[in-house]
Each structure stands twice: as structure tokens, then as C-alpha cells.
Symmetry: C2
């Protein structure tokens, strides 16, 4: 046919797509994450890709990101038409850039139809007009869970989060990981206790949070530039370097508290941290996979209590692969109620592409097919179709080859696609109700009774 | 907290969202459909939501739909900034309105990395600015499969499609269905054989295709208005009313062919139809669930051979719930090669909402949780957490209640959420390593050893 000339059919910049083997890996990761979320009773929701712009901007553009607004494009035969109701500029709409603002809107929209605490997950794509650079996408998939309460929310929900993180990263088997836990009140309470003005607490937290990226010298400089004294800066650096086992860190924090009997916020923060840690342990999470890290804060302003980051041991340069925390003021914004929540997010698209690059994850084969039934003689096609259906009924993913080339070529094709088993039936086998089952990895071929085929295939795939 | 005043947080018109129980039903349907697709060896792909506008418009706007273009909105602190590279108007981008044009682009983008025939599925949302009315959405999910060949594609791929449709609708158990099969060449060949000009064939096919919607009188009128003779109109109406078993219809078609020895296109169409029907039968699809219906054509211009529609028996007013066909000229448009394909699409969002309305499908419970471990005494919380983890390790979705209200209130909550089982442990039970297991449907409560709990729960859930 004629080629549609001059059309640039490449993906728009920042909107890439996966090859089938990568997409299959992504679906495996999504399925695994979803199973863990559901085992903890989280229920799926899906908010539309499109929200009113005023909803998305209720808490600002989330940093300096571009939001993608919608611009209706009329087809040529309707160009003269006035913009119709609901498609006019009076209702500005845009693509969601995260799943937290939409969660707040979802809860406001269905307040009386939901039960609280409301534990939901959403595995969905979001859109951000970030400056295009390697590993940055303008459309990417996030896996979010949040529990939201009305008026109050037990700290034990905070304790469940590390258990969920640990289960996910154990299940997807990408090596040792470390869940780093902190509490914003411990940080702000400490900063307050060494005499920082309230106006300087949030900026200082943000500086400390960036320590891993910018290094100690720059942290010092930035804190001094913020107007802190040399002594305060030293105290902060000493504080964020408190290390050791979970119990050692808690002991040091409690010891510090003895010298600061009036530090109420610090005291509350430490108590919260202790409650959470006790819950994490009662949930059976091994001390080997989590720690208290007083240097983490999460950049976002809305966190108010527990915060989490997760790093891959030996691959710390990848940054946090799963982060989140407790917030008080975010979800209730449309309702006008106090609706505290705690949640985490896994930036799946970015995580997966980086784990592939680092050689930690590998693409799947390009097809889910486990068996190819070879087309040896076209007069036997009815039998090939019947055999294929028997395999499918046993839950085995099967391709029937309709290729008219040689058996050798067809086996090559199967191999290229990563299909592990091939079924070969000629006239003699057909007459004897037998077939050849060729294992593409070992090259071994055995004769199997057709009625035993599904069992034998399952055995070889196991 | 302060309410964000005056913000209209409702969903934009035409972009609705589901409650959790409906979303869980949708995910069950998606999982079921996906399993069938994968059993036939179809591999998942996902193209971005956003494509270059020139790609989307390569075959027109798909009827008179509005396409949603993207309009970058800079955050307030970057308003002065020039539009950055890749975010400028020179690269017009828009949201995909179907999955077929993006499939053509995907194949063009990865031509040398894919193996052909390429069998892919994509279960994804698309965006169309249709006039908002009941049951019409501007964002909706489609479940598409297509097999695409290079240069040629066996008709047995057409035969697999009804087998796949039958498996899906049997699995989701929505009552009797009928897969109606036709071939465009049979229609156009017949029209040609009764002397229609080529220019009148496509318009006439479109008129016949609308027969179920507009009725026979209007079909007649429209065909006459198209310039057909009274005799031609009668012949067409007689032809499209040919009914009976698959074999009877094929016999009538073949008989007709004897009077028209020169009707090459008709002959090819009948031969194709026979090959497909034989394949469908060899795949074990019962004659009860499919028929030949010479009145269906599918409105879209690009179909060239086999076409399919599926109706729910007794609910024909719902229209076709799964449609598709064979096309020659669509997928190769960016590559410039002949790439014949055959595929179907299930408009899942619309189908589900109509099946719920018609009482054929019911929402799921609002949570996947199968068990709630009640918070009877907070000093026993470590045990509650441990018991919950044991259930989760056995694959049972479990919520631990952190509610401080009475056991009665907590049981009410479980009931309201549709959680079938509750675990109740007081001091005595804890000391004896036992628990109460309450079945919320029957009200019955039994005592179970904690180490037997997961088994007993699985038994009661089975």
C-alpha cells in the first residue's frame, strides 16, 4: 500500500513505550505489587486521567512542573461549529500529575459512599511536563497506597507500611533493600529545641533532606546562609549522623530528651517513632531490612509525621525506590475536614527502566506462549487446533503455527520468541494419537500420548 | 483544616470514575479477558496515551469526534519562561482516541524488533470528545486484540477470534451470547453481482449495516436515494435476510454462486467464510454460539474480509458487545508495506456500566479483604498483628482493625464492607492459643486453634 508520506510516527519526546518483553516484565511487577496491596486489604480505585485544572492546582503545580491542559481539536467537518457545552474553555481540564490530589478529590466526591479508614491503592499513569532527560518520563506509572482516616488514624497504619514495602521487594527479588524510617516531628522538634525560629525549620529540613545529593559541605553552607549559627549547624550535623541499630538510635534520642524536658514536639515525635517501630516488629519485619535514619525528611511540604525511604543495598545511587509518609492536611482540603493519611508511592516506570539498565532486572520473553504447535502438514490442521485447545483448557498459553514454511523455520521462530516447548505431529504420530514434544532449551524431544500432553507440558514448565 | 473554597472538585463531564466495588468488578473482568488473550499467545503492549497529532490524524479524526490536544500549562514561577524544546507548538500532541492507529505506529516504530505474525493485546483507556450523553464516556477502557502479518496472514487467525470471544463471554458468565460472522467480500461481491457501480457499494454496505438501528423502511428509502433500482433493493433485502444454520446459509450462498459464475469477489468471500467457519468448528466452538449473519458489515471503512459482532441473547438492544474484523490497509500505513490484520475490541467501560444497569452484572464488595481481625483489647495488638500476618502469608486478604470502639461496632463495620469473616480474640482465647471465627453471612461463630486458623478460613471461603 501507499506509505503515508512525511508523517513522523515516532513517540513524542518523553512518552516512550516498551517492547513486549519489557511490558510483560512490567505487568509481572504490577501483578506482584497489587497482590501484596490486596493482601493487606487495600482496595483498587481509578480516578480519571483528566481533572478540572482548579482541582489539580489546588495545592500548586507540584514544584515547577508543566501540567498538560486539554485543548479540544474539532474534526475538519465541524470546524465551523461553536465549541459545545462541556468542551468550552469555561471548564479548564488537564491531565493528573500525581495520584494524591486526585485521591483528595475522589474522597470528597464519594465521602458518604466510602468507609473510613479508607485504604486504597491506585496503579496508574500520571503526566508531568518535566524537562526531557534520560530516565525522566512525561508519562509514567506510579503504584500508590494510602490509608485515610476521618479526624484520626492509628499509628499502626504507619507501622504496616514497612511490612508492605518489605513484602513487595522480597517478592520481586531485586536483592537486599533497606527501609529508612524517620519522623518529621523528631526533626522539627529537634530543630526547635536548639532554638531555631519556626520560619527556619522547614527550609532547614529541606536542606538536611538534600544531604545525600549535595554533600555535607554544601549542607553546612546552606544552613549558615539560612541564618543558623555555627553551633546550631554543628548540632544538626551531629544529630543527623546518629547511627546504630534501631534500639541504639531510640536510646540516644531518649537520652537527648532527658536534657530537653520542654521539647514537646521532639517528645511526641520520638513516641510516635517508638510506636511505629514496635508495630513494624510485631508485624514480623526483620530488623535487617529497616532502620531509623534521622537524615531523611522527604522534600514535600505536606508530610507531618512518619516518613519512609527505601534504598537498594549496593545500589544507593539509584536513590529511593519507594517513599512516602504521614500527612495531616492534604486529603481533607476539598472536604474541609481533618483527614490524616499515610501512604507510599513506587515510581514503577522509572524504577523498572533503571533496574534493567543496572542489570538487576531482565526483560521477559516477547510472548506469554509456553507452547507452539508446529504446522507440519496442513491436512492435520484440525488436529493441531484440537491439541492447541486442549493445552489452553489446561491453562497453558499456546500458539498454533499457521506458518507454511518448513518445520525447521518454525522451530527457529519459536526459539526467537522464547517459546520453551514445541509440539510436532506428523501422519504417523497422528495415527498413533501421539506427538513429539521438543524442549527448546535442552533440544531434547520425547514422544508423548496426546492425552498425556497437557500433563507432560505442565511438568516440563514447572 | 480550612476548606479550599469555591473549588469545583467534581469529575469533568464525561470523565466519571467507579466506586471501589465497581472498580473491583472491572479488574476481575480485565483479569479474565487478559487470561484468555494470553492463553492464545497474545502479548501485551502499551502505547503512550499521547501521540503526535499527525499520527492520530493519519486516517482522519475517526468520524466526527473531537481529539484532545495537549496544551502545556507553565507553573506560576515559570510563566515568563519561553516554551522549552519539546514543549513547543511545533510538536502538536494529542490523546489517542483508539488503539488501532497507535498499533500501526507501534509496529512502524519497532518493525525490526517484532516477530510476525505479531499477536498483541492492549487493555487501555482512550479519549474521545464525544457529545456527552448517558452511557457515553470521554475516557473509556478498550480491550483490543489484533494479529498482524507481513504481506499475508492465514485465515485461521480469523477463525481463532470467535473461539476467543466465546471463551471470554463464557468465563465472565453473563448469559447466552451469539457471535455473528460475515465477510465484507460476500457483501461487496453480491452487490457487484447485481450490477451496482463500485462507487455505490461502500455507501450501500453502510446503509445495510445500519438496518438494525433504522429499520427496513428506512433502509429501502436510503438505498433508493443512493440511486439503486427497485429490483436491486429487493435483491439486497432478500439477500440480507438469508437465515438458518451455518450450513444452510453456506448452502444458499453456494447455490447463488452457481447462477453467477463470474462473481469473483463473491466467490472469494464465500470461500473465505467457509474456511473461517471450518476453523471455528475445529477449534471446538459450539454452533450454538455463532452464526453467519449477512446483514452485518461494521461501519468502519477499513474492514476488507471477515467481520464479527456479538450480541447478548435477550439483550439485543445493548447492541454489539464485541466487534471487529479483518483489514488489509490499516496497519501498514506508516511502514508502506502490506500488513493485513484481524482483531476485535471490547468497549469494556460502556459494556460494564450497561450490564450493571441491566442487572446482569453486580458490583463486588468494597474491599478485597476476606478477614478482619477485631481489636478487642489493645494489649493483645501484638497477637492480632501476628495472626493477621499468618493469614496474609497463606494468601488471605486480611485487615487488622485498629478501631478503639466496641467489638459490636467493629463487626458492623466489617459487615458494611462485605468482609465475610471476622477473627475475635480475648485474653482467654489468647492464653489458650485459640480464636473465635465469626462467619458474617451465617452469623455462626466457632472456636479455632490459631495454628489451624488459615486452613479453616480457606475452607469457609471456598
Amino acid at each position: 500500500m501507499a506509505k503515508a508520506d512525511k508523517i513522523n510516527f515516532s513517540c513524542p519526546s518523553g512518552f516512550p513505550e516498551f517492547l513486549p518483553g519489557e511490558k510483560r516484565l512490567e505487568m509481572y511487577l504490577i501483578d506482584t505489587i497489587r497482590q501484596v496491596f490486596e493482601r493487606y486489604g487495600f482496595t483498587p480505585i481509578e480516578t480519571p486521567a483528566v481533572e478540572r485544572l482548579e482541582v489539580l492546582q489546588a495545592k500548586g503545580n507540584q514544584g515547577d512542573n508543566i501540567i498538560y491542559g486539554l485543548q479540544p481539536i474539532l474534526p475538519p467537518n465541524r470546524q465551523a461549529e461553536k465549541e459545545q457545552a462541556g468542551e468550552s474553555g469555561s471548564e479548564e481540564r488537564a491531565l493528573k500529575f500525581d495520584q494524591t490530589v486526585p485521591l483528595a478529590a475522589y474522597i470528597a466526591r464519594h465521602l458518604n459512599e466510602l468507609q473510613f479508614p479508607f485504604a486504597r491503592y491506585q496503579i496508574d499513569v500520571v503526566f508531568r511536563g518535566e524537562r526531557a532527560k534520560a530516565g525522566r518520563y512525561r508519562q509514567f506509572r506510579q503504584c500508590d497506597i494510602d490509608v485515610v482516616g476521618r479526624n484520626k488514624l492509628s499509628l499502626l497504619y504507619d507501622a504496616q507500611i514497612p511490612a508492605i514495602i518489605a513484602e513487595i521487594f522480597t517478592a520481586i527479588n531485586i536483592g537486599d533493600f533497606l527501609i529508612r524510617i524517620n519522623n518529621r516531628k523528631v526533626l522539627s522538634g529537634f530543630f526547635e529545641s536548639i532554638g531555631l525560629d519556626e520560619s527556619k525549620i522547614m527550609p532547614s529540613i529541606r536542606i538536611v533532606d538534600a544531604a545525600e545529593k549535595i554533600g555535607e559541605t554544601k549542607v553546612k553552607k546552606a544552613l549558615l546562609a539560612e541564618g543558623l549559627s555555627d553551633e546550631q549547624v554543628e548540632q544538626i550535623l551531629t544529630f543527623t549522623k546518629i547511627q546504630g541499630s534501631v534500639d541504639e538510635v531510640l536510646a540516644q534520642l531518649n537520652a537527648m530528651l532527658e536534657d530537653k524536658p520542654d521539647a514537646q514536639v521532639l517528645k511526641t515525635g520520638i513516641a510516635e517513632l517508638e510506636t511505629v517501630i514496635t508495630g513494624v516488629r510485631n508485624l514480623g519485619v526483620s530488623d535487617r531490612v529497616f532502620c531509623i535514619d534521622l537524615s531523611i525528611a522527604r522534600g514535600l511540604d505536606y508530610y507531618t509525621g512518619t516518613v519512609y525511604e527505601t534504598t537498594l543495598v549496593g545500589h544507593e545511587a539509584l536513590g529511593s525506590i519507594c517513599s512516602g509518609g504521614r500527612y495531616e492536611e492534604l486529603v481533607g482540603m476539598f472536604v474541609g475536614d481533618k483527614m490524616p493519611g499515610v501512604g507510599i508511592s513506587i515510581g514503577l516506570t522509572r524504577l523498572m527502566s533503571r533496574l534493567i539498565q543496572a542489570g538487576i532486572l531482565e526483560s521477559f520473553s516477547s510472548t506469554p506462549a509456553q507452547v507452539m504447535v508446529v504446522n507440519m502438514q496442513s491436512d492435520l490442521m484440525p488436529l493441531y487446533l484440537e491439541v492447541s485447545q486442549k493445552l489452553r483448557q489446561a491453562g497453558i498459553s499456546t500458539i498454533t503455527s499457521f506458518d507454511e514454511r518448513s518445520v525447521g523455520k518454525q522451530l527457529q521462530q519459536a526459539d526467537k520468541r522464547g517459546i520453551p516447548l514445541c509440539v510436532i505431529i506428523g501422519s504417523e504420530e497422528a495415527a498413533a494419537q501421539k506427538c513429539g514434544l521438543k524442549n527448546m532449551r535442552t533440544g531434547e524431544q520425547i514422544a508423548v500420548n496426546i492425552e498425556q500432553l497437557a500433563n507432560e507440558v505442565s511438568k516440563q514448565l514447572a
